[in-house]
């Protein structure tokens, strides 16, 4: 089920009302059933994968905790890692790996071609496998007690507000809230609705309307002038941001209606001054996951400089691969790693002081520089293949054009409003920011957002971009 569908508009209030009508002890069963239904609306049979992942990690964690011997603990951890990553490999990376092998065979004049599979990539598989992985790893390192209640654990894995595209939550944080006895609370409902409203606006009004023009440019960059190609790249930066930030806001807002506080996933990332800061503001739940479960176990920055460089490159490349099984994603991630390292050494060499965490002309200038870098790197993320990315970059040099990008006034208005809101929301979340405003201003903003969603939302079928990861 998509958030931006009438199904969800009906599903959410029904589930919400029933949730608060039910006694606390039955709520987990109800939420689990609702979460499974939510997922099954997309492809019913793939619920088996979630159930399998749940059962394996549930049992593995119990065995890890029960085992005295380190080797046995390791064995059960390996089972969890193998099954989760195995699932990911089969559905997400198998074709990519085989395709690359076949390409190699072709160039080595080996006649053999290995067939690809036709399986549909399960929505959200990268999210829920990472979520359950973090749980078993935490149990292994003794940071987390194994959950005895299969129902609550299953709900942690499949909790519908964040099931298909995060935020990727840690067990300790989410489980405690899922178990808590929640009372109907006005603030929770109001803040939840505010976030949902804002999320729908930036997803459906900003991102979906921009996507039409991004598609035009990416489809034939050679037809547009260099300026239009650059504009197309900029629009994509905001499309993907609006799309994913919008999804995350709806997810966080939805969970809040049920009294659950999910972690923030975005914090005005395009106002970052460098790549390091960008990744602390963009897809925060994923970057902290990689920090805790890959970067630090690799040694983090407590290693020699050469090893640190390798660690950074590994983390960013794996992060790229997590996003998609394609060389474009590998390059996308790798480029972030490279820029991260270069910026680190430049700052060190020139003794550049870190920018303060406040809006200032200096931050603005550096943010523009950083935005240009990020926008150029996004080209690899958006492109289907390296040729397409090359077409976009060479398109930047186009002198003449056969077509031009014609954004309607309304699209410009919503787009610029979104950019403006970034400055207002620097280091703040929409719900907390708006709550401090005068009632007339609050309601004016609500009315504007509501009107924009009802009258100007994009009408093409644009599922959330991150659903494919």
């Amino acid at each position: 089920m998509l958030f931006n569908s009438i199904d969800f508009v009906v599903f959410l209030p029904v589930v919400l009302v029933l949730f608060y009508l039910l006694p606390h002890k039955l709520r987990w069963i109800f939420m689990l059933a609702a979460s499974y239904y939510f997922y099954m609306c997309w492809k019913a049979s793939y619920i088996i994968l979630i159930i399998a992942s749940t059962l394996i990690d549930y049992l593995a964690a119990l065995q890890i905790e029960k085992s005295k011997a380190k080797s046995r603990k390791r064995l059960y951890l390996a089972l969890s890692l193998f099954s989760n990553l195995g699932l990911l490999f089969v559905f997400k990376y198998y074709n990519f790996a085989i395709d690359s092998l076949n390409y190699l065979f072709e160039h080595l004049d080996v006649a053999k071609q290995i067939p690809l599979h036709q399986l549909l990539l399960p929505v959200g598989i990268s999210f829920y496998t990472f979520q359950t992985l973090s749980y078993t790893i935490d149990v292994y390192y003794g940071r987390q007690k194994a959950e005895k209640h299969l129902g609550y654990f299953a709900l942690y894995v499949s909790y519908f507000p964040q099931l298909v595209a995060g935020p990727i939550e840690r067990f300790s944080r989410l489980n405690a809230q899922l178990r808590a006895k929640v009372q109907l609370n006005y603030e929770n409902i109001a803040n939840g609705l505010r976030l949902i409203l804002f999320g729908f606006f930036i997803k459906m009004v900003v991102a979906d309307n921009l996507s039409e023009f991004v598609e035009q440019v990416y489809a034939q960059p050679q037809a547009y002038s260099g300026l239009d190609v650059a504009l197309g790249m900029v629009l994509y930066s905001f499309q993907i941001y609006g799309d994913f930030h919008g999804y995350s806001s709806i997810a966080i807002g939805t969970a809040m209606l049920f009294g659950v506080n999910l972690m923030n996933n975005f914090n005005t990332p395009y106002l970052s001054v460098n790549i390091k800061e960008f990744w602390s503001r963009w897809h925060i739940s994923l970057s902290t996951w990689f920090r805790d479960y890959l970067y630090i176990p690799l040694g983090g920055n407590k290693v020699k400089i050469a090893r640190w460089i390798i660690n950074i490159l590994i983390v960013f490349t794996v992060s790229g691969l997590w996003h998609g099984a394609n060389w474009t994603f590998v390059i996308w991630g790798g480029l972030y790693g490279l820029v991260y390292i270069v910026e680190h050494f430049v700052n060190k060499a020139f003794h550049l002081a870190p920018c303060r965490n406040e809006l200032s002309p200096k931050r603005l200038l550096l943010a523009i520089k950083n935005f240009v870098v990020v926008t150029l790197i996004w080209v690899f993320f958006r492109s289907q293949n390296l040729e397409e990315a090359h077409g976009m970059f060479s398109g930047l040099l186009n002198q003449h054009s056969e077509a031009s990008l014609q954004l309607p006034t309304s699209v410009w208005v919503w787009f610029l409003l979104f950019i403006g809101s970034e400055f207002l929301l620097f280091n703040k979340r929409f719900d907390t920011w708006i709550a401090t405003k005068m009632p007339w201003l609050r309601w004016a903003v609500y009315a504007l957002l509501l009107f924009a969603i009802l009258a100007f939302a994009g009408v093409q079928e644009y599922p959330f971009i991150y659903f494919q990861f």
């Binding site: 998509l2 931006n4 009438i6 609306c41 009107f451 009258a455 009408v459 079928e461």
Partner: protein
């Protein structure tokens, strides 16, 4: 808390009301034109319509071998040359879409007769729960009579009323398990029938299993095997159309489209055809009892006149489309007895009457002369002279005219000239490999005195010379080599 809730609900209600007003006033029109390709068709309807034909792809699909590639609705219009016949065609449409279209037609449009295509296949689960449904409903959601802002919300939140993939599969699955009413059938339900076809296979002319034919046979079963009753979704949609027509005072006709019964019998057997005919009869009886004129074309088109041979469709060649049109016109004529024209020889089905009012889509010669500058009726006429010597012209294979209608031609048209034309001829041209070129020009000023500045009706009878009977092509047009600008409208030619 409850006060807060009520207070906010009221404010929200006011916001929504104002938003709806603003949207309807400033943005609705543009959205309709952008997101509903049906809307421009409705908007283009004139204020006065005699016959409105609603159809799907069966109306407009043609074979490249067709001489006349026009739609069924155009052929219906040929029978009523002096009436305003219009169509709204939407590929894949069915009763629900027709209902949405009909409700969206403004009350200011006066309609006498409405002909709605009734496609037997559209009653099947396979079509009702088709994945194309979402796209179709999406085109109609803005047309609904509910508040425009609400419709726009449904559009962007995909609230068209269709089903998601899971629901579609479950519903089809449930329907295919329903036991057939006829207990004597060898198969209890669609699944069993389908399985039997798959297991036994359909043999080709060489006696070997043909996968293509087996798939086609299975498709016949899935699309045609069901028992109709009033609970069927499409039946309910047609019922709603009947109620709407009563409310609006339209004469309503349902045209049951031909199915390829020959193929169904050959591939699957008489059991299937019998079931189809029973269902069709049930529809005919039901809607005739409701006062609807039902045109029964079910078996009107033979196998060879179906265009698609690899899937059951309602796409017919020119002859098939004309046959359907003839049946429709035959029933509709009871509303317009004086306007009906027999355009074809009943014995051969070949056309004998030709008419062009410059409004219709039928392609004649010199269509580039169609102009909106003047019109006898409607909004267009053929503008010629002043360098464009030839008017709109009939250009037709003479051998397609039945031999018994090659004696004479009645030619009639309307002519407009600012000054009496001096150098204007009516030309009948007959040419072919087997005959000497026959060019027959008649000075229009000899036929009638032309009153300048007004439309002049002109009639002429032309005796076809015996030596020209072997002609391949007949052309009829006006010829004005001078600089004077002239207008021609309502050119009619009757072969006798």
């Amino acid at each position: 808390m409850w006060f807060k809730f009520i207070y906010r609900t009221i404010v929200l209600g006011i916001v929504l009301l104002l938003a709806n007003l603003a949207y309807s006033h400033w943005f609705w029109q543009a959205d309709m034109e952008k997101h509903s390709d049906i809307y421009p068709k409705i908007k283009a309807l004139p204020a006065d319509i005699d016959i409105l034909y609603l159809g799907e792809s069966s109306n407009i699909t043609f074979s490249w071998q067709d001489l006349d590639k026009r739609a069924i609705s155009d052929f219906v219009g040929d029978h009523f040359p002096n009436l305003g016949t219009y169509n709204i065609t939407q590929a894949g449409a069915h009763a629900r879409i027709y209902y949405e279209i009909l409700t969206a037609i403004p009350d200011s449009v006066e309609i006498k007769d409405v002909v709605v295509t009734m496609n037997y296949r559209s009653f099947s689960s396979d079509w009702i729960y088709s994945e194309l449904e979402q796209a179709l409903l999406k085109k109609t959601v803005l047309l609904r009579t509910t508040p425009p802002l609400y419709n726009r919300f449904l559009l962007s939140f995909k609230g068209f009323g269709g089903y998601n993939e899971l629901e579609r599969k479950l519903r089809i699955h449930a329907d295919w398990l329903i036991p057939f009413k006829n207990e004597n059938l060898p198969y209890k339900n669609i699944y069993e029938w389908d399985r039997a076809i798959d297991e036994n296979g359909i043999l080709d002319s060489d006696g070997g299993r043909s996968d293509a034919l087996t798939i086609l046979a299975a498709a016949n079963v899935k699309n045609f095997a069901f028992d109709l009753n009033e609970d069927n979704v499409r039946v309910k949609d047609f019922d709603r159309i009947v109620a709407l027509a009563r409310e609006k005072g339209w004469h309503l006709y349902f045209s049951i489209m031909p199915e390829n019964l020959e193929n169904a019998e050959k591939l699957v057997g008489n059991d299937l055809v019998e079931m189809m005919v029973n269902n069709k009869n049930w529809l005919v009886t039901r809607y005739r009892n409701m006062g609807v004129g039902v045109v029964d074309n079910f078996d009107a088109v033979a196998h060879e006149l179906f265009i698609d041979k690899d899937f059951p469709t309602e796409h017919y060649t020119e002859t098939g489309r004309k046959k359907v049109a003839q049946n429709v016109a035959g029933l509709v004529k009871s509303d317009f007895p004086d306007q009906f024209v027999q355009i074809a020889d009943p014995a051969t089905g070949k056309r004998t009457y030709f008419f062009h009012d410059c409004e219709r889509q039928e392609v004649w010669g010199q269509m580039q002369t169609i102009s909106t500058e003047k019109a006898f009726e409607g909004s267009k006429s053929s503008k010629f002279g002043g360098g464009q010597a030839f008017s709109l012209s009939l250009d037709y294979p003479f051998q397609q005219i039945p031999d018994s209608f090659k004696t004479e031609m009645d030619i009639a048209f309307e002519l407009f000239a600012e000054q009496p034309p001096t150098d204007l001829s009516l030309v009948v041209e007959l040419s072919g490999e087997k005959i000497d070129f026959s060019w027959n020009g008649f000075k229009v000023s000899d036929l009638k005195t032309i009153e300048p500045g007004q439309w002049n009706p002109i009639d002429f009878n032309f005796k076809i010379p015996a030596k020209a009977l072997q002609a391949d092509v007949v052309k009829v047009y006006l010829y004005a080599p001078g600089q004077q600008i002239l207008f021609l409208d309502n050119l009619a030619i009757q072969f006798k």
